[in-house]
């Protein structure tokens, strides 16, 4: 079985390298500092949501509420942003935690199927977001440093000499490091912690055990319910973080944003080779999956910009569906050959 896991993750990594190579070869400015950093900045939100989804899916569950929970927490964060960065951050995270706790409670205590429970939370969170915001986007405050969470970087702390034009490769590398967007740092740190949790803690092993066989884990005396409860709390927390970044990046809390985020997150988890049936998965491969999907649409935009073809925005959803189809079919084949061995 580890073979399947490794091969799916490796396939995603290979595809990522290929797509970066293709983009660099075909389009001017694909590997420019501006493009690289903006891809990272924008996709950090999806990376965070994907990480939470990865843990949920590893237990054999699903969290459909991530998009509207992110929308809700972006509204809360925007409301609190006049009181400073910390207030906005805390507000958004608490909103996410609350939704995640609700999910965890309904699923692990009331024993309701994850997709029904999170479907209900999805409705409720988007209802609360609309009520709070009076169905309008809520401007976040520019007077405090709240926006740094979405748009900021540490460029101000970079040594003076890297800001010239002729600084060579080493100079630009340092500049990119300091120019690395704060949301991308947040996502990166979250993934490091997530990877440690999965691979180095009892909780991580419980997650995989529960996904491999819930009843068996219960009989072995593992804290099944607590594990399930915690992954949904985690997913809500990370969706809350994504919502804070959303508000800070676009300067407003967006009550109707987040539609389809759950699909994007599920797709990136699946692309990374995590089994949808639970019990197997990798945090790093999910990050690769998120970047792969994000880059796919960057490539589409560049291709449109070349003027050879003109794919309307509607094509994006068709292509997204096709991509998911290919991945699902591949995974189904891999699973079958792995179980046959």
């Amino acid at each position: 079985m580890p073979r399947l896991h490794a091969s799916a993750g490796f396939g995603a990594l290979l595809a990522l390298v290929l797509i970066v190579g293709f983009g660099a070869w075909r389009y001017d400015g694909f590997l420019s500092e501006y493009n690289v950093l903006s891809v990272l900045r924008y996709n950090s939100m999806f990376a965070l949501v994907g990480l939470g989804m990865c843990f949920v899916i590893m237990t054999g569950g699903i969290d459909l509420s991530v998009g509207s929970v992110a929308a809700l927490s972006s509204v809360v964060a925007a409301f609190l942003s006049p009181y400073g960065l910390l207030a906005g951050l805390a507000g958004g995270l608490v909103a996410g935690l609350a939704a995640g706790t609700l999910n965890g409670f309904i699923i692990s205590k009331m024993k309701i199927l994850p997709f029904i429970a999170t479907l209900a939370t999805m409705l409720a969170a988007s209802g609360v977001a609309l009520l709070l915001s009076n169905q309008q986007s809520v401007p976040a405050s520019y007077d405090t440093n709240f926006m740094a969470l979405g748009q900021g970087d540490f460029l101000a702390y970079a040594p003076e000499w890297v800001n010239g034009d002729e600084v060579g490769f080493f100079g630009s590398a340092i500049r990119i490091l300091f120019g690395f967007p704060i949301p991308a740092w947040i996502a990166l740190i979250a993934y490091l912690i997530g990877s440690l949790i999965l691979n180095r803690t009892p909780f991580g092993r419980h997650v995989l055990a529960v996904g491999g066989g819930e009843e068996a884990s219960r009989l072995m005396g593992l804290p099944t319910d607590r594990t399930i409860f915690l992954v949904y709390v985690m997913s809500g927390f990370l969706a809350g973080m994504a919502g804070v970044i959303l508000a800070a990046q676009f300067g407003a809390g967006q009550p109707i944003e987040g539609v389809g985020w759950e699909l994007f997150a599920i797709a990136s988890v699946v692309v990374g080779g995590t089994l949808l049936t639970g019990g197997k998965g990798s945090v790093g491969a999910t990050l690769v999956g998120t970047l792969l999907l994000g880059l796919l649409f960057t490539v589409l935009n560049f291709e449109n910009g070349m003027g050879w073809i003109s794919l309307s925005a509607y094509w994006q959803s068709v292509l997204r569906g096709l991509f998911l189809l290919v991945v699902v079919l591949l995974q189904s084949r891999l699973t079958r050959s792995a179980t046959a061995v």
Binding site: I62, L113, L324
Partner: protein
């Protein structure tokens, strides 16, 4: 009939349907008591507190809004009865709704006259939606893809197909003959209500009294046992997704006939939630094996009435979402208590 029962797998506790009974009494069995009580309570509340509730207009508005949910719900109940789920229903409605006007207006191919055009404009889009349903079933049955993921593909791509096809434009049409399927009246009742009733009775009968219905419940109750008992599990799964696609197609046509316009961006948007909620509130087990079409009808009525009650009493739409969420969780939780 008896041979079908003989072939059925050994009953799994708590997961088989009630034994079939005859007539309306059989359809309205004891397990609908809770649902009906809730419905009656809602009605009484409205008679007492909602102004202008007891009018023909209110009845008509509520009935036409509930029709689409129930029609899609018929297919969804079948799918859920096998332990599956169909998230693509709204997208399939959009596909059928976007194609139909182009056919009966002769934009895709010449049609000899209006009536042939309308006939083709009804049959072809519904068949198309059925084919997409077949695609869903193929993924679920042949590739063993989890239903929620398999139908997620068309949930994303299906609406995109309709949007790409129509370039996202609104298609307005004025073909009263076609619109009869929604707004025409027979015996004073809107024609779409008749369509709904026919579909409900037909499928309730099929689920309770035919071999196919028993097979659907058997697959949902215990797939392995059903397979061992010689039930064609794959074919049954394929069929329920096709049925769900066809129901969605019909619902899509009704929506465009009501609006005399087709907007691929909006037809059936978000309907999967309403439909799943109706099925759950109606008492169909979401894990499969026990299903009731009449329950889905009652569930859809309850959800519609709750929304109407809130709106008519000045509660904002957003709060109605929260109430609906609570309703879904409560209904499913009560189901569990009932079973335990």
């Amino acid at each position: 009939m008896s041979s079908a029962l003989d072939n059925a797998p050994a009953p799994v506790p708590g997961s088989v349907g009630t034994p079939p009974r005859t007539g309306l009494v059989g359809l309205l069995s004891r397990r609908h008591v809770g649902t009906i009580t809730a419905l009656i309570a809602l009605l009484i509340f409205n008679f007492l507190f909602t102004p202008h509730f007891a009018t023909m207009q209110t009845l008509s508005v509520n009935l036409t809004q509930v029709c689409v949910i129930v029609i899609v719900g018929v297919g969804m109940t079948m799918v859920i009865a096998t332990g599956g789920i169909d998230l693509s229903v709204g997208a399939l409605m959009a596909i059928a709704g976007a194609f139909a006007p182009q056919i009966f207006q002769g934009m895709l191919f010449p049609v000899p006259n209006l009536y042939v055009g309308i006939a083709l404009g009804i049959i072809l889009p519904v068949l198309l939606a059925g084919c997409f349903g077949l695609f869903n079933g193929w993924l679920v049955a042949n590739f063993k893809v989890q239903p929620i993921i398999a139908t997620l593909i068309l949930f994303i791509a299906g609406r995109g197909i309709a949007q790409v096809w129509t370039n996202g434009d609104l298609q307005v049409f004025k073909v009263p003959e076609f619109q009869q399927i929604a707004i025409g009246r027979v015996l004073g009742v809107p024609f779409q209500v008749w369509i709904m009733l026919v579909l409900v009775l037909l499928s309730a009968w099929a689920l309770q009294r035919t071999v196919f219905g028993r097979q659907v419940l058997a697959v949902g109750g215990n797939e392995q046992a059903a397979w061992l008992a010689g039930i064609p599990v794959r074919r049954v799964k394929l069929l329920v997704y096709v049925i769900s696609g066809i129901c969605s197609g019909i619902a899509g046509l009704i929506v465009i006939a009501m609006n005399s316009a087709a907007d691929a961006n909006l037809i059936g948007m978000g309907i999967e939630l309403d439909v799943i909620a109706a099925v759950a509130v109606g008492g169909t087990l979401l894990t499969g094996g026990r299903a009731t079409i009449i329950g889905t009808l009652l569930g859809a009525l309850i959800i519609q009435l709750v929304r109407y009650t809130l709106l008519a009493n000045g509660v904002p739409d957003a709060a109605a979402l929260v109430v609906k969420a609570g309703l879904i969780v409560m209904a499913v939780w009560l189901q569990r208590q009932d079973r335990a």
